[in-house]
Symmetry: C2
Subunit: 329 residues, 2 copies
């Protein structure tokens, strides 16, 4: 009898959970559906390998640090020779869910993105040729590329493919909010739930929706009121050449937003409180009270999911033939 009741309750909970998730503008993060594990393991090494940079000091993980929400928690990043980057490093977490990559969407997908920083003189400052030359000089890498891709000669194509495949594993399911979406009513506190309702009612979900709570559209920064910034970034117009696209940026994901401070493309908002206030005023023409702001922030913190969990990779050593890093040239 008890068993039956419990079974019925589970079924009902399951149905109402699904129904609820179906109605909400935010969807729970799905586990990774299809992945090439050989590419993932190789890509993980490449992601952590600073030898893909000219200096031998900067890896993908330097600015998209997987111990820190997949970002560097700096306003703008530090590149080769301590150059100051032009824009805030977006998180790599859940980036496979983005409609395109970079704030201005100039890369169609993760594979296209991965080649960018390696060759950017302000970031890793290497070249694709140099990166491949380094990898080709290391027998363990040569063997692993052969095993995984069946190639005798490494090209940047396999390098970026492997990095992208690793990055696809960096989703963060099981946040409290997802548990709530999936039917666990107790997963959110009253304050958090109020925050979510206000987040929806105020119109935040017009842009911050879907699995990634953002990442799926470009929107103008400063819709109701102009955004004042020293940043020279112009957003989508740099890609499309259209004036109408000036200051349109990819809507950032709000998944794990508690960990991905500071906020906005220029990193000028240091706290969630500040970010919520600015978004309310500039995008929605609404001044949230301190209480409302606190509720939304409480809700946003329920979007922190399971962080990537893996063994620290061990990189194969360079050989006598590996081009030496040039940090001070």
């Amino acid at each position: 009898m008890n068993f039956k009741i419990s079974l019925i309750a589970t079924v009902l909970l399951g149905i109402s959970g699904q129904a609820m998730a179906a109605e909400e503008p935010i969807k729970p993060i799905k586990p990774v559906q299809s992945i090439n594990l050989g590419q993932v393991e190789l890509g993980k090494k490449l992601y952590f390998d600073p030898r893909l940079s000219k200096s031998g000091f900067i890896s993908c993980n330097s600015c998209h640090n997987l111990s820190m929400g997949g970002t560097d928690n700096l306003k703008t990043s530090i590149g080769h020779n301590w150059q100051q980057g032009p824009i805030n490093a977006p998180t790599v977490l859940n980036s496979s869910l983005n409609v395109a990559q970079f704030w201005d969407g100039r890369a169609a997908d993760l594979k296209a993105q991965a080649g960018g920083p390696i060759a950017n003189p302000g970031e890793m400052a290497a070249s694709h040729t140099l990166a491949v030359e380094v990898l080709e000089s290391i027998p363990e890498y040569v063997m692993e590329f052969k095993k995984v891709f069946g190639v005798d000669k490494i090209t940047i194509d396999e390098v970026t493919q492997a990095i992208a495949e690793f990055e696809k594993t960096l989703v963060t399911p099981n946040s409290d909010f997802d548990k709530w979406l999936l039917g666990d009513k107790a997963a959110l506190s009253g304050e958090e739930l109020k925050g979510y309702k206000l987040f929806k009612k105020s119109g935040c979900t017009a842009c911050h929706n879907g699995e990634a709570v953002g990442g799926n559209s470009f929107q103008k920064m400063g819709l109701v009121e102009a955004y004042k910034t020293d940043s020279k970034a112009e957003g989508l117009s740099a890609v499309t050449g259209k004036d109408a696209d000036r200051f349109k940026f990819k809507v950032p994901t709000l998944r794990n937003v508690e960990m991905t401070y500071p906020y906005f493309h220029d990193g000028e908002a240091q706290t969630l409180t500040e970010a919520v206030d600015v978004m309310g005023r500039l995008q929605l023409g609404r001044k949230f009270t301190d209480e409302e702001n606190g509720q939304i922030v409480a809700f946003l913190k329920t979007l922190t999911g399971d962080q990537p969990s893996f063994m620290m990779p061990i990189l194969p050593p360079s050989t006598d033939n590996t081009p030496a890093p040039k940090p001070f040239d």
Copy 2:
């Protein structure tokens, strides 16, 4: 019967293995004997936390990268604002076995060492006060320090103690050479064994001996013939003030030496072949033939042991009260 023979063989192998290890100048690495696991877990986070630096970009792992033999594989390290360090970053692997820390031994132990780079203006460029202020602003850290050390207020003393305790776990047992020392005759090839015999006979083991194959004495760099270098490092004399100690450096461990390139305190030797040649000429007054050099290099590569194996730590996020990093001040 078979079982008995196998048992006897095992016992004999055990005895002969122990006898062999006892006679050899190099000893197998012992597993970690006594460790505080709470401190280790906390120390691991601190080791990976770039918020202990002024820029928020440099952590202990930046220059003592556990994916890369516990070093940065650069001649000299990159510090705050891309400053060029004065000396080659020694590996953190097996550093608990060192007689003292730093090339000049100016820190008595790992705990004393750990505070150095945090406050060094050319390295992490923070201060102990700032580092503690950052940690104190993060509730998860405050709780963890309380749990592990029973303190209500964090001081640099607990910070360096935890980092040191984590570093004590970074030993690398089970190298092929240790297997050989422990009785597995098949663990070394003929070439590798020739290399070891030559290494001993030539006198390398006068300095490179013990568990870490070095790390337990200070010796003059350039004993038979002067070492020519642009490096301004003077070694032990900077600590003792004694002229006799000029150019005396701590003998580096040769454990994992295949991974800890480039070599010497100035990082000027890019390859093992070059390092063996220079050591032979300058320290022993002996020019190894190419064949001999190759044998010694083959032996040295058998000193690579199990690399540290652990889950990438996830760092607790900063709060609104955390002092912001200042990378470009």
